[in-house]
Symmetry: C2
Amino acid sequence: MKAEIIAIGSELLLGDVINSNAAWISKRLAALGIDVFHHITVGDNPRRIHEVVAQAVERAEILIFTGGLGPTDDDLTVATLADYFQTPLENDPASEESLKAFFLARDVAISPSNFKQALRPVGSIAIANPVGTAPGVFWDASDKTIKADKPLFMMFFPGVPRELYAMWGEGMSHLKAKLVGRGESEQVLEARFLNFFGIGESKLAEKLNDLMNASNPTVAPYVGRAEVRIRIAAKAATSQAAQEAIEPVKTEILSRVGAYYYGEDDETLESGVAQLMVDKGLTVAVAESCTGGLVSSRLTDVPGSSAYTHLNMVTYSNAQKSRQLGVDPAVLETHGAVSPEVAEAMAVGIRKEAGTNIGVSLTGIAGPEGGSHEKPVGLVYIGFDGLSKADSADPIVKRVTVNSRFSRQDIKYWFSHYALHYLKLYILGMLDRDETNTLAQASHQATNQSVG
Amino acid sequence: MKAEIIAIGSELLLGDVINSNAAWISKRLAALGIDVFHHITVGDNPRRIHEVVAQAVERAEILIFTGGLGPTDDDLTVATLADYFQTPLENDPASEESLKAFFLARDVAISPSNFKQALRPVGSIAIANPVGTAPGVFWDASDKTIKADKPLFMMFFPGVPRELYAMWGEGMSHLKAKLVGRGESEQVLEARFLNFFGIGESKLAEKLNDLMNASNPTVAPYVGRAEVRIRIAAKAATSQAAQEAIEPVKTEILSRVGAYYYGEDDETLESGVAQLMVDKGLTVAVAESCTGGLVSSRLTDVPGSSAYTHLNMVTYSNAQKSRQLGVDPAVLETHGAVSPEVAEAMAVGIRKEAGTNIGVSLTGIAGPEGGSHEKPVGLVYIGFDGLSKADSADPIVKRVTVNSRFSRQDIKYWFSHYALHYLKLYILGMLDRDETNTLAQASHQATNQSVG
């Protein structure tokens, strides 16, 4: 089975909205072994929608539409498709009831145009929308195609991502029932992502070249905002068989580049660090300067973060670094706020103030102003203290530079990524004492390299 | 002139990468008055690329390709297009030199496959890539089309967004030169966004219905993560004339819904608040619980934020709320950490501790656990203190609830949005003392409403 994903909406063609739905849907279809060969975006224009549908019907058996289900005049999707397949519209009583209930619950008057949303082509099924007013539609239009042996299944979802997400399961249950009814062989594709930080895509590709040329499972790299992900995908008769084919490939990859690995699939650096702290019963406190609270915010993105964090501080000024964290003003004066000496003192200071096992500090230059030749934009010192065997403070400080051409927000993000990654290594006893290490070098190169 | 944007890459069809480039490019073409009627995504497959190009050449005069310019075997874009137009490839000496320099500067050995990136179709022009290895291509292939009167301009950019962004200007200078050379009438489209928070899209549409039915300038709403944006777009002979046509429409819109407006185009809530504080010479300190540092991080996303923020704290535990901010343990015991009383005490406490003009506090429940019937997930109290005419502390606390079905990260984001929005009103003396106000109600409804 081949699917085509068609987004309808002039706002997409004007560049005012990014079409993230196509990727979201594609990932879920791939997991079912359904191939997607085209994503199409077209405006709210009946003639151009007809043209696009005519091409899609030639190429695919499953068409998934997003957008154009709203109550306004330029929401044309269902009516235009019904017109294309010369099928009248009918009212869906359940959708109408749920529209009324939706507005009643919010004490808002329902407008006549809202009832338009309860219309669907004769012979189709409504998909309930638990979080908005626009119902979706599942439509088996196999009898509408010229080729008698070719099925045609269409689904219509709203363009608002959270509505699509909430409605997807019901839509897919209709599709799966049809596929089972047709006795479609169900070759299953399973995919797993391995997440890496501190190694560039080209370096990863070099180390995994032979695996990337294999066909089942396939191995391919993807570049994220600061991380690189390796996707292992296997096709097999059952989900279990596909998973079993993935396992040895994963083991082989980790034997080569495991030092840079931090988690699978949706595991993030922060969730990995959180799990580690919970497992070991450790607590952490962060003192931030240039990142302004981003490391703290990411640490608390993980549910249950109160188990390991009680107090974090953003000491933006020198005065507050001294007052809150006990950084010696003479040290600030001599070395400047962005220095290994200050990072050390901040890490020790926040640990003592918060009474946690670990103190983490960041002091650097996020730009775009404030850099110098000696201390450029993109430079940060990250300090760690608390886990040394020595009884007294024994901080480790890492020096990191990231691409100074990045935006201020990207630089903050990269700094926070390094802090979380080093924190993990620090907890694992794997953070070396060299101020600048090969990891930083490798990663910095990675940010400068192109993949086309 | 009509343009079509074609993304090439199987990773897009597998859903592993979101195609944000299409929107980015579309926005820039719209500003030049160039219409975009289709976005297409196709995999790394020569036959399907040929099919897509054949359709695009029928529909458009400008084709913009992204992706598939890397050094690996599945990077096929340039070779496949050269093949389609039966044009040989030639080596670009400048690109080759710059590739060598790129690798030399990074002390990395250049691989033979990298030199593939220096190839471009005979008669085309290379576009330099200042941040990666893959050069782009501008190609006037008007002589390759069957219709003698139809021009065809193609541009090839890497799929990595920051490389596209860095190369766009040079590519466009080639295109503009061609358009001027052809004496293309240059009707200019100018667009401006007005950003709103605290009012839903349907409510905005209701208030601006007559304007939204006009054709030049056009007025249309777009829903963001927590904000709603109104886009005003005008076409005219000159950029100035288009801007002048926008101005009265903007004035009219602000006269109707100005209470919810916070800025134009790329202005964010945080940049608006920052500007206001700089203008008034005010300083602020934030004490966060549930948002974990996100408000602080957003305040420091604005360059120059050290002018108005010196110290922020994340007091996650009750003990630290008392220790750092002086919240009375009895108040915490009696009312619980998520209460107006604690929000008050936190706002007063952080202001005093930081010695700033304003103290802001947040205490709430970001979920997914920890909610109760009385204090559900999505509830937050936001406190403000410092600007009262009274000499002593005189805090204002606002109670906000957002959709409890949102993810933990989205809830944190909404809470931070409210905090910044109310901070602006507080500075302007417009924050009323009712704990729950109509703004919160309106916005909460907005999050539940659908636009299809």
